[in-house]
Symmetry: C2
Subunit: 346 residues, 2 copies
């Protein structure tokens, strides 16, 4: 039964007004990974947190902040939607290792190491060359492991992704992307990456963003579920979830910020092109409150058992979060080598 | 017995190297209100938090962060010193109401509404004119009440202080200052202020900073304790604590930053003067690990009972913190009037 499941959407960046939050609650979703920031620096990230605090105050009957997995159970019991924050790029920590713990304390649970472009940490999926994880990136991965912030490589390049999987002492995620075997796109992931991710207890969230799917906005529910089934044949069902990448009711300015940040003088179309520069049409079977129920039913139709379909629509995300969000201080205490004198610290 | 007491120092801004932390632990102090920032803006405040996170990592056997009163009990049980963060000015929230909750979540438990000068919130004690709490200040007081951040008026002017006591729905503190009846100084507080503070369940922390004391660095332990006794005669013992204002081993640069921030082209000497521009000599009976024990014994000598002396050296601070640090969401939910459209919030 759909209603018995823990339902988690592993990425959305919709316009979070009250109408949308009501729709989200009606959809049966217990928790959603919300994009807090794209290219915001540390200071601007604080304002995003402050704006969400205001949303929590104004909609305390509908939503609550999630910092640890058990908070999702509490949200479910209270009939609220849990909000888990993520950053699509690593701009929030700027060039300062200490900001990892600061942002984690503020509520940032997931961070991508790069977004399409080369970052201070890793290469993005649209770069021609991918040097792998940088020197700063290695330190940040250790620190994210220590404080319980999840590494997300959705928009990163292949070599950097494999390198991150290898370096990280805790499982990582690709919160929203699809296998390239289903649709060849720079943003999608090779079998090599998916196998390495799963072998290290990581999690892949299947994307409902049309530009990640065969036939774009015309991709059928059945084709989507067949893609999930084929991936499960390859790596098992325990490492698969949904990261819908759903974006509703956002103005073009948000799309522009997401794609261009402050880095490009000429328009960059991301996964789109000059011909299709706006938002792609949302999949009709995932646009409204029936979206997750439709996927659940679709998964049963292509042969998943009821518990397996439950794993994919949220159970696996829950287990992954349970293993990922607690701090593990013992993982990193090598401050000896880089510690500054107390005088300098003042 | 001194060892049975909960010992809390309501303000220090020493150089927090490991030697000092060892001394602090040996002194029997269970928790200390640490000055995190003076004039740092929001971004710079994050770096201060990050530096403290590094200190916690490096000295996890000695110190732990305190966010709520019960954490102090845990610290005492673990034999660690609890660190409670405060801001001596309100620069950390800049001009943004939403940063109050952001800074509280990060661990800022106490904030002064002004530091010597006029701030965006209140007048400082060295201003000629004191307009009272500003329009922004009224909002910030409400928000601090809501999230459980303590209002501290140690460096604020009299009218602003009385105004804050009146506006705040929760008790406030003057974490480190002395009565003007003991020593006439702009930084010290009139009987009017102390009575209003106590009548509203607030807390006064007596300062050990020589420039707040009769005879400066030569103030005797007995004179100090007589000042406490005389104040207790005026307002009772329940609202009195220690806020030593102790500063050890800091370079002149910290003193300059504290007094001058970025606001003054000419040297401002704060409570000092051109003649005594450096750090005043610390009181010999409060310089080392016997400081709080000496005060405890001194209080007994001037007539306080054992439980009363225990209240002054920490028990009252503990009760005050217990009533002050929990959020009270019901105190402020008037976002209707100032809420922005969801579009604007994005």
């Amino acid at each position: 039964m759909f209603n018995d499941q823990m339902v988690i959407d592993g990425l959305q960046y919709s316009n979070w007004n009250r109408d949308y939050l009501l729709m989200l609650k009606a959809s049966g979703i217990d928790a959603v990974h919300v994009t807090l920031v794209y290219h915001e620096d540390a200071r601007a990230t604080l304002t995003r947190f402050a704006q969400w605090e205001q949303r929590f105050e104004q909609n305390s009957d509908l939503i609550m902040a999630i910092s640890h997995a058990q908070d999702i159970k509490e949200a479910k019991e209270l009939g609220k939607v849990g909000i888990l924050f993520g950053a699509q790029n690593c701009s929030s920590i700027e060039d300062e290792i200490g900001l990892v713990s600061v942002m984690r304390k503020q509520g940032l649970a997931i961070m991508q190491l790069s977004y399409n472009n080369q970052s201070l940490l890793a290469a993005g999926c649209y770069e021609k060359h991918d040097p792998g994880i940088t020197r700063f990136g290695e330190q940040v991965i250790k620190e994210m492991n220590r404080v319980g912030m999840i590494i997300d490589m959705s928009h990163s390049a292949e070599r950097s992704t494999l390198h991150a999987i290898d370096l990280s002492e805790r499982p990582i995620c690709i919160s929203h992307a699809n296998p390239t075997f289903a649709y060849e796109a720079l943003r999608n992931k090779s079998d090599t990456v998916i196998k390495a991710l799963a072998a290290n207890e990581g999690l892949l969230g299947f994307s409902l963003y049309p530009l990640h799917l065969p036939n774009g906005s015309h991709c059928s529910l059945e084709d989507f579920c067949e893609m999930v089934a084929k991936t499960a044949e390859m790596v098992g069902v325990d490492h698969l979830g949904i990261g819908s990448d759903l974006c509703l009711n956002q103005p073009q300015s948000v799309l522009d910020w997401m794609r261009n940040g402050r880095w490009s003088k000429k328009m960059d179309y991301g996964e789109g092109s000059a011909g299709i520069s706006g938002w792609p049409d949302t999949l009709p079977w995932f646009a409204g409150e029936e979206g997750m129920r439709n996927i659940y039913q679709g998964l049963l139709k292509v042969g998943f058992t009821d518990p397996e379909a439950g794993q994919v629509i949220g159970g696996n995300w829950y287990n992954f979060l349970q293993n990922s969000l607690e701090p593990m201080p013992e993982l990193n205490s090598s401050y000896e080598t880089v510690s500054k004198s107390s005088e300098e610290l003042v």
